[in-house]
């Protein structure tokens, strides 16, 4: 379904490698199955031809990888950035997390990425191959001869259905045309939860968060979670904790994680994408984003480099925490 093809990207990468602009390429590498694509560094044309892929399963946001990949490399690294990735890219630059000079960023258009669990829900288990080249996805399973056809509206990830922007906010070079910021409905689900009673909300989150197995995938994939040492791994933090021993720990981890990235989260949705338990973690982040937009004016982390996040800023006329609720109650 993607408008640009693997070949275009390989050509671009090979050209930049051969003219010396970059010394390596951060790209998607095919895995065992068509849907388990992993990020990898490529250094030659041959490697690219062999393993580089670009399909509806290339959702991984590469910005975070730049923090580690730009250390100790000669020359520059080529990174392909989808529009939503560029926000993380800028946010990390705002936080001085990598050296911009070491990166050559190529913006690529994105038609939205697939959610494998949605695909699986339709096709059934035992996926043998997936063809994403056409308008519809063709999924062949071990148990059926005929491939199952799936339309984009049925396989697109939630974050892509509610895509906030097709505009690249950072790049050195752009392939294809740039898009616009989109007036999405991404806060609708948060608003729906807000309209529930506290008991209903508690039940909702209790149900969601109790599934957490503390695999830390959300943290590890999150482009805002780039701490040198995570507080949850750090005995000196006083809140070191590695397993969801009980209900409190499940909540604590996610509240603290959401709070830590509040104001810095670009709403890229990686947390929910990588969650093996399908917990809608992005809703916690979106709650903070929605609140801050409501309380302190629209703010999109990563829209520009050097912006000051709402939680490290203030005005003398800010809302009182009590007024926050009054306001919501009168709105509702």
């Amino acid at each position: 379904m993607q408008k640009i093809t693997r070949d275009v990207l390989i050509d671009k990468a090979s050209a930049l490698l051969s003219d010396g602009t970059v010394s390596c390429v951060l790209g998607w590498k095919k895995g065992e199955f068509d849907y388990d694509v992993t990020p990898a560094v490529f250094t030659t044309h041959d490697e690219l031809i062999k393993d580089f892929v670009f399909s509806d399963f290339c959702g991984a946001n590469f910005s975070k990888y730049l923090v580690s990949k730009t250390k100790n490399i000669e020359g520059r690294i080529l990174v392909f950035l989808k529009p939503c990735d560029t926000y993380s890219f800028n946010q990390l630059l705002t936080e001085h997390r990598f050296d911009r000079e070491k990166v050559y960023a190529v913006g690529i258009p994105c038609e939205g990425m697939a959610d494998i669990s949605k695909v699986r829900a339709i096709s059934g288990e035992g996926i043998a191959s997936i063809d994403t080249s056409g308008d519809k996805m063709l999924v062949t399973t071990l148990y059926d001869d005929e491939p199952v056809e799936i339309a984009p509206c049925d396989f697109l990830a939630e974050r892509c259905i509610n895509c906030k922007s097709k505009k690249h906010v950072a790049f050195d070079e752009l392939i294809g045309e740039d898009g616009d910021v989109i007036d999405s409905n991404r806060f609708d689900e948060v608003a729906r939860l807000e309209s529930l009673t506290p008991d209903e909300r508690f039940a909702f989150w209790q149900n969601e968060l109790s599934r957490c197995i503390r695999c830390n995938a959300c943290r590890d994939a999150c482009p805002a979670c780039t701490c040198e040492k995570c507080v949850f791994d750090n005995p000196a933090s006083g809140i070191e904790n590695k397993s969801p021993a009980n209900e409190f720990e499940e909540k604590l981890f996610h509240i603290i994680r959401a709070y830590h990235v509040a104001g810095r989260c670009t709403d890229c949705g990686e947390c929910s994408r990588v969650c093996p338990q399908n917990i809608p973690l992005h809703l916690l982040n979106r709650k903070f984003i929605k609140d801050m937009n409501d309380f302190y004016g629209e703010y999109q982390a990563g829209a520009e480099v050097g912006m000051r996040a709402p939680l490290v800023d203030y005005t003398t006329e800010d809302l009182e925490p009590g007024e926050v609720f009054d306001r919501r109650d009168t709105d509702a």
Partner: protein, 144 residues
């Protein structure tokens, strides 16, 4: 008087310059409030890390109140403005998770407002008592 009357556990974070002094003044003027309130002194309300609040709830606190200088009067000029934003965000999030919003509060109490301090604590204890025990954010391992 009932023997097993429910007594909430309230943790109050007070900034050294205004609210802690306000609490002292309440003492000087013998303005009573329930002993359920235990005060922790911090240099400024902006020292209160959300982690401390969650920690208190984890360990069984039934309510947490943060007191600081009135906006514009912060000893460190702007600390309480950050507190205001941080707590607005945190309280709203706790509410979003279904934790009763009445269990958290931010109040501005100056060094001269001993009466306000006592009244605020009386009111807060009453509110939390009405809610009953905090069950939604308690870590059972920490149970008394």
């Amino acid at each position: 008087m009932q023997v097993n009357e429910y007594k909430p556990l309230i943790v109050a974070f007070c900034c050294n310059w205004c609210s802690y002094a306000g609490a002292d003044l309440a003492g000087n003027n013998r303005l009573s409030y329930p002993a359920d309130v235990k005060i922790i002194r911090v240099p400024c309300s902006c020292r209160v890390n959300p982690m401390f609040i969650l920690r208190a709830f984890q360990r069984g606190a039934d309510g947490v109140i943060i007191c600081g200088c009135h906006p514009g009067d912060c000893h460190y000029t702007s600390g309480n403005y950050y507190t205001r934003r941080r707590m607005a965000a945190l309280f709203s999030m706790l509410d979003f998770l279904g934790i009763e919003r009445e269990r958290t509060r931010l109040e501005w109490v100056s060094a001269a407002e001993g009466a306000k301090f006592a009244a605020t604590m009386n009111d807060f204890v009453e509110t939390v008592t009405a809610l009953g025990e905090n069950k939604r954010l308690e870590d059972l391992r920490c149970k008394k």
